[in-house]
């Protein structure tokens, strides 16, 4: 098993709703793995379990063959798992630069820093500016994050997750509600980061985005994996068409394309 991230036989129920049942998902090191499925199929719940926001009922999560089941979110982040949220979450009353610095405390954590030292040394600020330039919002560094547009918030969220050099980044609908040219921009950035060694696990409804970007795609339906494989195989898998595109009564679960 050389998977960088492995969620093994995860089950999770909310009251009477079985969000995940016996769900196993693997993410190979260096891959861009897509996670698709209709609304309510358990994708975000799986993200929450991997990153410590929810506890599992049964099953285990491994990062690099190290068991991290039910690790708290701050621990998961320290272990190199970064994530974004479906409803983009930033710190609106901090500046863009301050948003970046919140995450920068883990860099160079070998030596002890006084908690009263000013936030963000020159190295942290340089690194933050590099990332903001990389994602293309460096011009807004001193602006309050509240003033950013929706697309810029998505880019900020991606930027500050990258501050700590995570081994794997979990993106929850990076292309959701974003205009087509920005989608291309985000896809290009993900490819560039992946080429430099960052692994990605991406939940997304935009099929062109997923099929164009991912090395492997895993399909969830009713909390279980119905198919997993390269995008060209998945695209034509009858079980996937059945589950994802829907046959009769699942019209409202149509992916936004």
């Amino acid at each position: 098993m050389s998977a960088l991230l492995r969620a093994e036989q995860i089950s999770k129920a909310f009251g009477g709703v079985q969000a995940l049942s016996d769900c196993t998902v693997e993410v190979e090191r260096g891959s861009i793995t897509g996670l698709i499925g209709p609304n309510g199929s358990g994708k975000t719940t799986l993200f929450n379990i991997i990153t410590g926001y929810e506890h599992v009922d049964t099953g285990d999560v491994y990062a690099d063959d190290r068991k991290i089941t039910n690790a708290r979110p701050e621990r998961a982040f320290a272990l190199g798992i970064g994530r974004t949220f479906q409803l983009t979450r930033i710190f609106p009353r901090l500046t863009v630069m301050e948003n970046m610095l919140v995450a920068s405390q883990h860099r160079g954590s070998g030596r002890w820093h006084s908690p009263l030292a000013r936030a963000g040394g020159p190295a942290d600020r340089r690194r933050a500016m590099e990332l903001l330039e990389f994602t293309g919002i460096a011009g807004h560094a001193t602006a309050l994050a509240d003033t950013l547009s929706y697309g810029q918030r998505k880019l900020l969220e991606l930027s500050y997750v990258l501050v700590a050099d995570p081994a794997i980044v979990l993106l929850d609908e990076p292309a959701g509600g974003v205009n087509p040219s920005l989608i291309q921009h985000i896809a290009a950035k993900i490819r560039e980061l992946n080429a430099r060694g960052t692994t990605f696990l991406i939940v997304e409804h935009n099929m062109d985005f997923v099929m164009g970007l991912c090395d492997r795609v895993t399909v969830l339906d009713y909390g279980t994996v119905v198919a997993s494989g390269p995008p060209e195989i998945i695209r034509s898998d009858p079980r996937v068409l059945d589950a994802y595109l829907g046959t009769t009564e699942e019209d409202d679960d149509e992916p936004a394309q």
Partner: protein, 372 residues
């Protein structure tokens, strides 16, 4: 605090302005400090200096409250617990160890430590819940402490604890209290300013904006919240001890006083929650106003009604407080003006104005938020 300090936002167009503004701000703070330090020498009327001591105690208390509640967004209405614990610590210590005169002041650090220690179990319980639930839990804990003060024998029950008689020159009786309260106030404001710009302060403000997101970026939220709660309690306990010796008596309803919680919260809200100078301004305005109303009308309830009305007015008209609103107004006014000036300059020299977000602008720590 001063007009200069309000206007000291980073001016992107002209870097020289930044140093000038910093110099103005430093000058303003020094002038204010000098004025406050000379105050008891000019005003020797005991009535006036008594109000001044009260004001300084609340300046420090509001600043301390703001270090926790203002920065983290967890609105505590239980800080009277720390104030009362500090007061009772000094009272009981002086009574049981038979301390008199100046030696009673030696108990102040103990009062602060006791309050900070009380903050640990209090925080571990209350900080598990957020927002309204947190407020309700702090009020509940507050009433538990008031009830304990009423019912334990070592707290003196309903008669409370009286301070040993202080034999001082009546003409300058208030002065030591004044300068001690001033020193605590200045230190607390300095600490608040340090924390605001620090890594610790940034983590607190990140918690205020989105606690779960902060956890997902590696912030150990419980540790950070509890540390801020303890720092806040430490200062509040210290002030409680000082207040006790100043008032010379503590009763369960005066040491653990719900009006204390409402007052410090109102001061911070009026001046600007989460700003360094806002709570200070709030206390400087509200305490003398409250005392004046009480003196004028002798009816305590009238001042309460006026305060309550003021509170509603603040929430309605200035929900973010005086300092943030004023600073925003000034910033936008200056931006308009400097934009016009830059436009003229560009027209004159044929050069474009510096684009926003150049590296020098990005190097400024926190933009307009930190300027307050």
């Amino acid at each position: 605090m001063t007009p200069a300090s309000l206007m000291a936002g980073p001016d992107l167009a002209r870097p020289g302005r930044l140093q000038q503004a910093t110099a103005w701000r430093a000058g303003g703070v020094l002038a204010l400090l000098a004025a406050v330090a000379l105050f008891p020498l000019v005003f020797t009327n005991a009535l006036v200096t008594t109000i001044a001591v009260d004001t300084l105690i609340f300046v420090a208390a509001a600043a301390a409250w703001n270090i926790f509640s203002g920065y983290s967004g967890y609105i505590s209405l239980g800080h009277a617990v720390f104030f009362g614990c500090g007061a009772y610590t000094v009272g009981i210590g002086a009574r049981d160890w038979q301390l008199t005169g100046l030696s009673v002041f030696a108990l102040l650090p103990l009062a602060a430590v006791v309050a900070a220690v009380v903050a640990v179990p209090f925080g571990l319980v209350a900080l598990r819940v957020r927002r309204h639930t947190f407020v309700v839990v702090t009020i509940a804990v507050f009433f538990i402490f008031q009830l304990m003060a009423f019912n334990f024998s070592f707290t003196g029950g309903t008669t409370g604890v009286a301070a040993p008689f202080l034999v001082w020159n009546p003409g300058t009786y208030n002065d030591p209290f004044y300068y001690l309260a001033l020193a605590i106030g200045v230190a607390t404001i300095g600490l608040s300013w340090l924390i605001r710009g620090s890594r610790f302060g940034l983590q607190l403000r990140a918690i205020r904006d989105d606690e779960d997101r902060a956890r997902g970026l590696g912030v150990r939220t419980m540790r950070v919240k509890l540390a801020a709660f303890m720092i806040s309690a430490f200062v509040t306990g210290l002030l409680g001890g000082l207040w006790f010796y100043f008032i010379t008596q503590v009763l369960p309803q005066s040491g653990f006083d719900p009006a204390f919680d409402l007052s410090v919260a109102l001061m911070a809200f009026l001046g600007g929650l989460g700003t360094v100078s806002g709570p200070v301004l709030g206390a400087l305005v509200l305490v003398p106003a409250q005392q004046y109303l009480t003196e004028q009308f002798t009816n305590d309830y009238l001042s309460q009604i006026v305060l309550g009305t003021l509170f509603l007015g603040v929430i309605l008209l200035l929900p973010r407080g005086v300092i943030p609103t004023a600073s925003e107004k000034i910033t936008s006014w200056r931006a308009r003006r400097s934009g016009r000036l830059a436009g003229q300059a560009a027209a004159a020299t044929g050069l474009a104005a510096a684009p926003p977000g150049e590296p020098s602008a990005a190097a400024g720590p926190a933009g307009k938020e930190s300027a307050r």
